[in-house]
Amino acid sequence: MAMKTGAEYIESVKSLTPRVFVAGKRVENMLENATTLSVIRATAKVYELAEDPKYKETMVATSHLTGEPINRNLNVARSNYDLDMRAEMALLTSQMLGTCNYRCVGCDTLNALASSTWEMDQEMGTNYNQRLNTYLKWAQDNDLACSGAITDPKGDRFKRPSEQDDPDMHLRVVEKRADGIVVRGAKVSQSGAIGAHETIVLPGGALKPGEEQFAVAFALPNGTPGITYICQYTPYTAEREAAESIEELGNPEFGQRETSTIVFDDVFIPWERVFLCGETKYCGRLVARFAKTHRMNCGGACKVGYCDLIIGACKLASEYTGLQKVPHIQEKLIDMVRISETSHACAIAAAAKGREEPEGSGVYMPDDLFGNVAKLNIAHGFWEIMKMAGDIAGGGVVTMPNERDLNNPEIGPYIKKYFKSAAPAEQRLRIIKFIQNWVAGLHGAGTWHGAGSPQAQRVAIQFLTDWEAKKALAKNLAHIKD
């Protein structure tokens, strides 16, 4: 079966009716709700990019299971080149969407599972890898949009999953049957699951013996009975709902980043879709493999694409206001590029230094240290870039009137007169609104926490850095003897 076009993807989700809520109301038709529509538009755009010959190298890979061309979002990296192209895809989709590639997390969960299921089969004689490959081939054949779900609600953070007053604070298996398992719990902050065909679920972190009920990884169709999606609701959701035209919005077509809480109310998962069940020993490694992959892509590529958009918008804003030759503006723009490209370089390094993991599996994982540094660097750098963007764009970024004012015959002439500078008011307001979407939007905290909060990267960097080797180098040159 050929890859889907954007139009075919939209057609395919028309017949899906997942149980979705926005602001306490059930969404009956996802193509008619402003928020859910923005997710579907963004996902359709990811399909369209794969159709475009200009982006084929980045967006299309060759399946190692069938030899057929597939959307790279369903590819398992089998080389350093694959890793590099995976990161390039994250860069491209961010540049083209200004929001999530909602298939991104699904891609990284599939890669982590490809590595860990192979390892489990080798060590324990299970058949998880065969199951995963069968699932993956089916997903590739039908070019399915897969989202990923990892983060549990977690309850009291000082308590282990098995110590919680309510055991459902971490998604768990409540029943094992001959034909499958029944799971209960929730996953939070799941980007774009509502527009996907499938969701790939991983455990939320490392687990210990005695916590087997929480050790579970599986895939499920998004309309499976018992699943409910409760969407985030932000001022940007309200703004989109209230807009008379999407042209009033900062990212008209694709919106801010939309997530949901997914509730699993005793959901049945057939064994054919279960890729880990009870093997606590492998959960930490599985999640770490997801994290290193996602940190390379999220930190060193996806957010770099966002920075490209912000930097471009700031350059335009400076030209529209006649400030393009002011030295401190130029300096800030250069600093923005410095921060952004440093993270980008880390992603390129993570891909170049990546290796087969585990050896013999054929699955390539990025270099852990560079991936973590990419993410930690951009977590801090993104705020810096937004600070400078707010500076360059000026106070108008939070005080500007609405596009509807511009179009109002009574007050429109005032707006045109007083917001004109080196460019017409229409252009100036449009670019300021675009910058507002970033600097007063959701992406700062989103970048901070997405792919794991910075403290998670610090812990990883602490563990991955060879401090003794660095000390030995210093002692050698300083002539310090033990």
Partner: protein
């Protein structure tokens, strides 16, 4: 390359009194449909209570009686939505050992 993955698709044949449709899905698709109808008493993709008047599994056949009077086209359309929501797609192929869904509606008195 193909040895890395099984072709473990399963087929679901849907019968209304007059019409039929064929669907293909990954192994476990029929089991998910059956679980929704029997354990949760909902037709996947539909969330109102009382839509299923009777659901029964007889060997490889799911027998469904849906509420109110419906045309054959309506019944097939409802099952189309239900099966797509659990990961099945319309298919041109038909395997000899297909699962079956026999769907009818409650007759108005």
């Amino acid at each position: 390359m193909a040895a890395l993955a099984n072709d473990s698709l399963e087929y679901i044949l849907v019968h209304t009194p007059q019409l039929q449709g064929i669907y293909a899905g990954l192994g476990g698709t029929f089991a998910t449909l059956v679980d929704g109808c029997l354990r949760k008493n909902i037709l996947p993709g539909f969330y109102e209570n009382g839509m299923i008047k009777r659901a029964e599994l007889k060997d490889n056949k799911l027998v469904l009686v849906l509420s109110e009077k419906k045309t054959d086209a309506d019944l097939l359309s409802l099952l189309d939505v239900a099966i797509r929501n659990v990961g099945g797609f319309p298919s041109q192929n038909q395997a000899a050992d297909a699962w079956m869904v026999e769907v009818n509606c409650e007759i108005e008195k």
